[in-house]
Symmetry: C2
């Protein structure tokens, strides 16, 4: 049997794990610095918690878990006879794998509301699963790193989340643009055009501006049979410069003006040191759920799409029976951040905490001595390992090479008697006679 | 809809996550200090990788994932007609959830053998899933923390793993006994009794000694129709003191003597500072797979069963087509370690990195000032949070109390003008007028 793993899933080699941990711990530190606390939810949710939350397409992408035991005994007879797979599911599967961290969080807030305080600032770094068709850069299992605040509509939190985005990408040494918009501004645009009933069509077209240009947006709007006058208005909207022009354009839309007011308040909180963000009125992320601010982050050096994003949503928990829970959150795309750092060669060398020296016993009589030496050096916080047998020295040094271990300490009877050890640099071949203390000093 | 989670699964509150992270990071540090590197494998494995690896009972406890799309189209017709659930599974489920970390590791070693070096020291800290009947202390999703070395039969690794066990429980401040045995010693016992064909029956009885005593073991052996002479031998075996008596008892069993030799070699490597272990010839953990040393750790203060264990196994990867890969490993039972620390009240207070002070704006005109103050204090590594609106002070302080925040800094127009702030101790009610620098000093 030749082993394999399911399509769309991945094994991680030690170096990849170390690099991912570097990203996670950078994000985690920033979340904690801003007072967010970590929670965890189970990989499996009750299937009905998940279905209907991600649209029809999302339901198809949920991984469903087969009930254990004799599941056919309780299977829906009619669905079986009709060979209707979708209809059969609820009777043979009670559980599904987590599809994102937001719906489980909403469920969690409702279930544990008496153990929590509000506003509640939580972060969560866990894998999610989606039965997407696997392709380059898209996997069926991947980590999400989310921070959300629920139970307050204060815009100080929008400003905090932008500070976190700025801090994380600064620490990761990735040059980014943080784009900011407000769904109410987009709604105001539709209102000014007299086309609030075509809100989705309008914003989807507008969102494509940076990819297809003004003419492209115009073509889409024409194809969607938007009246000429409205198209004219929208092109005007897209050419506005600055919040004052925007305010004047939206002067007849109460919602639009409220959106501008919110944007201004958020900008007002941000310290002057944060200067890598811009208002982008075409930004239209997550229109199905965001109701206020919308945030998106892109790399300025690598073309890879958004590497972080977020926004404010009202009624996060309404579908679980708890109303009026306004929330705002951001999510880091760890996989894309990984790819950016890899492409730019920006992972710090210190991310890989490699073994510094291999202790090599020359013959069996040296093994106990070598083992003790290894123990002593580890106790002094020097990362060393011992070759476990008195194999030929060439084999031992080849092993050190494969593990990228830069030094070897070869232990023979002479070293055991004198206590003077040889530290061999495996790159240059240089060798130095040193005491144990000197070696520890040199390697730490 | 009242939300719930599947039976046997758990949500974790922030304090629980912090405590678990403390356990994981202690274990992780020890693994890394001894040269183990981290790998990760996907939650989902190809179902056939898992089936048949954990016995018939294990197969029933695997969580199987329903194929996506119209799974009935390719379902086994005959199995459907017969209503045979077990027979139907392979045609409607290609994937299963990881049941432990050992089988995925074996699969990983075979798949990535060209990217690895041997001996390969890996650790892995990931959740596993089992459809066990939920009960107190037993969950369907739980973390395993494993370290294994493959590709060497050197007993230096047994000694290293014992050092790791010792280090971790020392750091966690848990008083433990590390018990050591060797499967070959148990086989030797069976050989001396002339009953190698009854090996399992004998060892299962012997393993129960500490629960049911000598008489109890005797009763079991009688019920199993073990000949009187052999029972006599076994009772003698159980009363032996020290390795010398054991050696004399096993003098006619080559395998048994080899087992003693191995135990002696391992003990020979261990530094004198490790003195919390003992040879226990009745220890019979994992007989189906361990072939050499067997290790088990129990708390000396809390009766909860083993909180860690491990052993050596030959041919870890044989079922995936790679022979002669001897391995040895240990696994930490994080959930039980958590329970022990909780019961003994041994989690250090520093595990919970709580917010130190809540910045409270008296009215709306103070929000921007309070926000800036919060930003400045965070930049000085003081963990603070700001109440996001100018709510009534009683409400703000109640929020601080719920979050266990010990101090409040109340910001009104007076503070904004003078820059002299009030630091209020929320336990004692004491209040001190201080500059920002003084507050930062006091809180860091």
């Amino acid at each position: 049997m030749k082993p394999s793993i399911p399509k769309g899933t991945r094994d991680f080699l030690p170096e990849q794990v170390a690099k991912r941990n570097y990203i996670f711990s950078t994000i985690r530190s920033a979340f904690e610095q801003f007072g967010f606390v970590q929670i965890e939810t189970p990989a499996m949710e009750v299937l009905s918690t998940l279905t209907g939350k991600y649209g029809e397409e999302g339901d198809k992408l949920l991984f469903k878990i087969l009930n254990n035991g004799d599941f056919l005994a309780k299977a829906d007879h009619q669905a079986l006879e009709e060979k209707n797979s979708n209809k059969l599911i609820p009777s043979i599967s009670k559980r599904g794998l987590r599809y994102d961290l937001t719906v489980p969080f909403a469920r969690y807030v409702v279930m544990h509301q008496n153990d929590l305080y509000f506003p509640f600032k939580r972060y969560q770094i866990q894998p999610v699963w989606r039965a997407d068709r696997p392709q380059k850069g898209r996997y069926q299992e991947f980590y999400q790193c989310d921070a959300d605040v629920v139970g307050s509509d204060s815009l100080t939190y929008e400003a905090e989340l932008i500070q976190i985005l700025n801090l994380v990408f600064d620490k990761l040494n990735i040059d980014v643009s943080i784009k900011l918009n407000n769904r109410k501004v987009l709604f105001g645009m539709a209102e000014v055009c007299g086309l609030t009933d075509r809100f989705m069509d309008l914003t989807i077209a507008v969102d494509k501006l940076d990819k297809i240009g003004l003419e492209g947006v115009k073509d889409i709007l024409i194809k969607k049979q938007i009246p000429e006058e409205a198209i004219h208005k929208i092109l005007e909207f897209l050419s506005l410069k600055g919040l004052d022009q925007l305010e004047s354009f939206l002067k007849d839309s109460e919602t639009g003006l409220k959106g501008i007011e919110e944007l201004k308040e958020v900008l007002g909180y941000l310290p002057d040191t944060i200067n890598n963000f811009e208002i982008d009125v075409t930004l239209a992320r997550g229109l199905n759920y965001y109701t206020g601010c919308i945030i998106e982050v892109a790399s300025n050096e690598v073309q890879i799409g958004s590497i972080s994003g977020g926004g404010r949503y009202d009624d996060l928990t309404a579908s679980f029976g708890l109303k009026d829970m306004s929330g705002v959150g951001i999510s880091f795309g760890a996989a894309r951040i990984y790819d950016v750092l890899e492409e730019l060669n920006r992972f710090p060398a210190t991310v890989i905490k490699g073994v510094q020296a291999l202790i090599c016993p020359l013959d069996d009589s040296c093994r106990k001595y070598a083992f003790n030496l290894t123990t002593t050096m580890r106790a002094s916080n020097v990362l060393v390992d011992m070759y476990p047998s008195a194999a030929k020295m060439a084999k031992q040094l080849k092993y050190a090479d494969k593990r990228n271990i830069p030094y070897a300490v070869i232990i023979g009877s002479e070293e055991m008697e004198s206590g003077i050890l040889s530290l061999k640099n495996l790159k240059t071949g240089e060798q130095h006679k040193l005491t144990l203390d000197e070696i520890i000093n040199r390697l730490s």
